[in-house]
């Protein structure tokens, strides 16, 4: 068995068969590794992750070229439900909690796809409450009334309920205070260390992402232009300067709105 869990080779993707969002993206995630996908607004991070999770059709997007393999099997045309059951579980950009459901109901939805027994669901819930104690306090609260950080934890917890082998997170830091971001990345690191969970995380916040990841891939205009060990990239000023100015935060909220409309 090779130690490569996920490999993406020469991925190209379009929206409505016209707009090229991703041109040529290649990278790999090894077992037990945290890989960060870095890039500025519109670089193609979300498109890449959605291609991996089979979510492009729901966004009227298409994979135009390339190969995506999970454990050496081509998964490029599998349905999201099937991918979740085989272990690739997404945490969407902008959290996407079920706002009118309670926090606990949100978590339980993550276990429905794999047809978990009620007893298993209970033990899994306890594990998640242990990881995110705040969710336990708010388990009966309506999700839409909880804070942004709590919603991000709910979204991650909901994904964990599917018992992922590769967790695919899209900008978990978006719109959150630095301290909250720190807490969330610590939890991810803990999952990675204690359970060997492999993680692919797209981030604009390169500082945090490079601190917690093992490897990083940089996207620019739909191309993967650079990749390497995160320790090495951390010390390169040009990365921040070229691709990832910290001042893009306001742009990114604008982006969320256009996504919501589209």
């Amino acid at each position: 068995m090779s130690d490569i869990l996920l490999s993406v080779e020469g991925l190209a993707a379009t929206y409505n068969y016209v707009i090229r969002a991703v041109n040529e993206v290649s990278f790999a995630v090894r077992r037990g590794e945290i890989v960060a996908l870095l890039g500025a607004n519109g670089a193609g991070k979300s498109t890449t992750l959605q291609a991996i999770s089979g979510l492009l059709p729901a966004r009227r997007g298409q994979r135009a070229a390339g190969r995506i393999a999970f454990e050496d099997r081509d998964i490029a045309s599998a349905s999201p439900a099937k991918l979740v059951r085989s272990g690739i579980v997404p945490v969407l950009e902008g959290r996407h909690c079920f706002l009118s459901l309670t926090v606990e109901e949100n978590l339980i939805t993550g276990a429905i796809g794999r047809e978990a027994k009620s007893r298993m669901i209970r033990t899994d819930l306890e594990e998640i409450y242990e990881l995110f104690p705040r969710l336990k306090d708010h388990r009966r609260s309506i999700s839409g009334l909880t804070s942004g950080g709590e919603q991000q934890m709910t979204a991650i917890g909901r994904a964990l309920m599917s018992r992922p082998r590769l967790l695919v997170l899209d900008e978990p830091s978006m719109g959150l205070a630095p301290l909250v971001v720190e807490g969330i990345f610590r939890a991810l690191k803990r999952l990675n260390r204690e359970r060997g969970l492999s993680i692919l995380v797209a981030e604009q916040n390169s500082t945090v992402a490079l601190r917690f990841s093992d490897h990083a891939v940089v996207l620019e205009n739909g191309h993967s232009v650079l990749s390497g060990a995160s320790v090495a990239l951390r010390n390169r000023d040009d990365i921040k300067a070229l691709y990832l100015g910290g001042s893009l935060q306001t742009d990114s909220t604008k982006k969320v709105l256009t996504h919501a409309v589209a």
Binding site: P57, R60, P80, L92, L99, G110
Partner: protein, 295 residues
């Protein structure tokens, strides 16, 4: 002197007939919430159910047998529609889906006609007289219809609250993209919802058929449901219930107290006026989704 007793009688009559509107509206809301489709064919489904039932009975089937057979037919019909028409159109714009259901309603009506002919059938549930409570006349049939509709709603409420399919439904209704990402199998949820819509159509069809006779104009009760949906909000089951009651009451009260100055017959359109008025004030309806969000 204002005759309160008469007023209450009219009001109760209106509320009870409103329950029947709610029943039709709920069928719409379920499918709308689960897939964002305004299923115009709900009326045709209702007609199809009633027609199948009376035709079976006329051909000698016992009432329970006819009921079970019709129920099975409606479930199959619902599943077939979901599978052959709506699933292939998934991710298409809402207007495409709406047009598809509009076309579908004609196909279903045509099929009903082909199968069972075009004549008007009577449907006698055997409950017709009225009784008096504190001097107020109440129709026994209306009360029966309200009780049936009420129990149906209660069963659905429990189903959506406590089962996994129910939870999946509420998740899909909240955020379809997230439901997909979480790994819920949307086609299963849709199939469940169309099954439920088929059951609602059956119950609605029998009750409406008993009241109006089973005939092709039965499919026009969808037009009665529209103002209910506007009033209650397209995505709220509670809204459909309250909206139906309000429309029923407004119609009857207006007919009796305002109608004479228009020369009568305002029952058919007054609900639309009320719905339009509400649209101007609250476009999302009384109970329509104002997203739950933190302020």
């Amino acid at each position: 002197m204002f005759d309160y007793q008469f007023f209450i009688e009219v009001l109760i009559g209106g509320l009870l007939s409103g329950v029947m509107y709610s029943l039709v509206a709920i069928g719409f809301v379920l499918i709308y919430k689960a897939s964002g489709v305004l299923n115009f064919a709900q009326g045709a489904m209702l007609l199809f159910a009633a027609l199948t039932f009376v035709s079976l009975v006329e051909r000698g089937a016992s009432l329970p047998a006819a009921l079970v057979a019709t129920l099975a037919t409606m479930i199959v019909l619902g599943l077939a529609i979901e599978r052959t028409v709506l699933r292939p159109l998934v991710n298409q714009p809402p207007i495409t889906l709406f047009m598809a259901t509009l076309g579908l309603s004609y196909v279903i009506e045509g099929a009903a006609q082909l199968l069972w002919g075009t004549q008007v059938h009577g449907l006698d549930i055997g409950i017709s007289d009225t009784f008096e409570v504190a001097g107020v006349l109440i129709s026994r049939f209306d009360l029966f219809a309200a009780a049936v509709a009420g129990s149906l709603v209660a069963v659905f409420a429990l189903f959506f609250r406590y089962t996994r399919t129910g939870l999946s439904f509420r998740a899909v209704a909240d955020d379809q993209f997230a439901a997909l990402a979480v790994g819920l199998r949307l086609p299963r949820v849709w199939a469940a919802v169309w099954t439920v819509a088929g059951i609602v159509a059956l119950v609605g069809g029998l009750l409406w058929g008993a009241r109006l006779g089973v005939q092709f104009s039965l499919s026009l009760v969808v037009l009665k449901a529209l103002p209910v949906l506007v009033l209650g909000g397209f995505d709220s089951i509670l809204g459909a219930i309250v909206g139906g009651l309000v429309v029923g009451a407004i119609e009857k009260l207006a007919e009796v107290y305002v109608g004479p100055s228009f020369g009568g017959g305002i029952e058919t359109w007054v609900a639309y006026v009320a719905a339009l008025a509400l649209l101007l004030i609250r476009p999302s309806g009384l109970f329509g989704k104002k997203l739950v969000e933190r302020v």
